[in-house]
Assembly symmetry: C2
Homo-oligomer: 326 residues x 2
């Protein structure tokens, strides 16, 4: 029921995902009359692999997480997470209120032993590949211990994506030891002592995009602003390129010739927006789709959930945590 | 003596600035034999408007600010700031160690009444113009009162650049009132009560680049990471465009035709790197040039200092602070 476009956007994404993955089963959780109507619009839908779980309440995009937790026992988001806890589902994908999804996930699923707070992670494009950036906004204030736990979680998430011995860095305002705030300096000394983690030190904002790290760790305030400002800058540049190529007859012609190249660039820069973010550190798989993104983005979030099921990410993380933290 | 390239880069920039502004006088502060030699290489230099002030010590780029303050009384940076304090110079421009420059500026020049900490500001390009972003790294931890003072300083800096009733916003992880950390929420309530300040609420990272604010306020950790990651992303995109246009014979031809357009784009995106950052809140004008940037960047920093002298920025700020803060 969530996101800026709600089920009108999510239901078609689900039907497309069912067509893409023949072994996928989906449970749509929300207000059933609305969902039934949207499914009825697509007669080709394979109803054997699609069922609806009715939920009478919806959490608003601006609702306070604490209030959503207390006052809406039958919210679609909560019902979906209960399905996960009871084992009726293997992952939960939502485009709803991020804060509420995080609070409910913690309450319903609980965190893994050794993890105080779950984090949000996404892999952003860099000059040489991808960098797993976390936290992206779940925790606006973080202690050194939280940053340390995020580093461990980010390393496991990068490994699940096929990165061997991921280079883990703390995002900071400089690379020298004396730089940064107290939390970052303390986290650095914790990470220097961690066995089995390829900690490489501090990385700066520009180093991140140069591809100096496979995992970059920061608090949720910094991560959220980095991610959103990058999205904003990439959009601005795309629009400037369009404008440049539409100024005169000559540049318009040039632009039409360059269009396929520019579209590829655009696709390259948008994966963070398109792939959604994973919640790490929970006893279960939860993927948050970008609220303002369309059907294709939600479908990508489903793909991400499938990857995490295949890689058994929570179990893998649990094993690593036992080795490292306990 | 500072920056990644030192006087080899700074001296030519100074000579070019002297040629550009016939009424400009410059004092070069540093190790005089080196400076004399570099000037001698340019026989066209107008020595009437150029003098050298010898300083026997240099602060290293990685030196701790506290140590630089204690142990190097004859550091070039300090001697330059003393010239400013004594009235022999009207502004100080440096490409050296940012932390040391800030610590020495505070110690030698003192802050304006009502200002606890100076901030670094730069105007970054947005979809609709420029946004004055501060703090860019001088203060990694900030209280709500500091953010409030930054907002006032940013507004005055934007006005000095010709912006009428600048829209002032706090950078945050959401635009709803409940979002953000404690400092940001408290700063918001202080700003809501400020008379004579056009406070418009929270702005997110993407809204910043959409041009939703003329002044965006954050702590120095967030601002530094936003600025550097934006520089990194813009460079990465520039290189991808180059790569796209050099893949095949056809795209190379297209690229050579599009080159003037792409170069303009590149110039548009780099002003933050090229113009340097101003220190606001001091009893004097201090401009920090980008350490890794070349001669042209240092020349831009001199231009910025000239603008602040013309607009009498510290005096203007002092008047506004008396009205708002005291």
């Amino acid at each position: 029921m969530g996101g800026d476009f709600g089920p009108r956007c999510i239901v078609p994404a689900c039907l497309a995902a069912l067509a893409e993955y023949p072994s996928l089963h989906l449970v749509l959780v929300g207000y059933s009359p609305v969902l039934e109507e949207l499914i009825a619009d697509c007669p080709a839908a394979d109803r054997h692999r699609l069922c609806i779980e009715h939920a009478s309440e919806v959490i608003g995009m601006d609702e306070r997480p604490a209030q959503a937790l207390r006052s809406k026992p039958d919210a679609s988001m909560r019902v979906a997470l209960e399905l996960l806890r009871s084992g009726r589902a293997q992952a939960c994908v939502s485009a709803g209120n991020t804060g509420a999804l995080m609070a409910l996930s913690r309450y319903v699923l609980k965190t893994l032993p050794g993890i105080d707070r779950p984090a949000m992670v996404s892999a952003i494009p860099t000059a040489t590949g991808r960098c797993h950036l976390l936290d992206l906004g779940a925790n606006v204030d973080c202690s050194a211990e939280h940053l340390y736990q995020f580093a461990v979680m980010g390393a496991v998430a990068a490994e699940a994506c096929g990165v061997v011995r991921p280079r883990v860095a703390l995002l900071n305002v400089g690379t020298e030891e004396i730089k940064g705030n107290q939390q970052v300096k303390l986290a650095a000394s914790l990470l220097q002592q961690a066995r089995g983690l390829n900690y490489i030190g501090f990385v700066e904002g520009d180093g991140l995009y140069r591809g100096e790290a496979d995992v970059a760790v920061c608090d949720g305030f910094v991560g959220n602003i980095l991610l959103k400002s990058s999205e904003g800058l990439a959009s601005m540049i795309s629009r400037r390129i369009e404008a440049l190529f539409s100024e005169s007859m000559g540049s318009r012609l040039l632009g039409s010739l360059a269009l396929p190249l520019l579209q590829r660039l655009h696709g390259d820069l948008a994966p963070a927006q398109h792939n959604g973010a994973s919640f790490l550190g929970l006893q279960g798989i939860v993927v948050k789709s970008h609220g303002a993104a369309g059907s294709e983005a939600f479908q990508s979030a489903i793909r991400r959930a499938l990857l995490e099921i295949r890689e058994n990410l929570p179990q893998r993380l649990h094993g690593r945590l036992e080795h490292l933290l306990l």
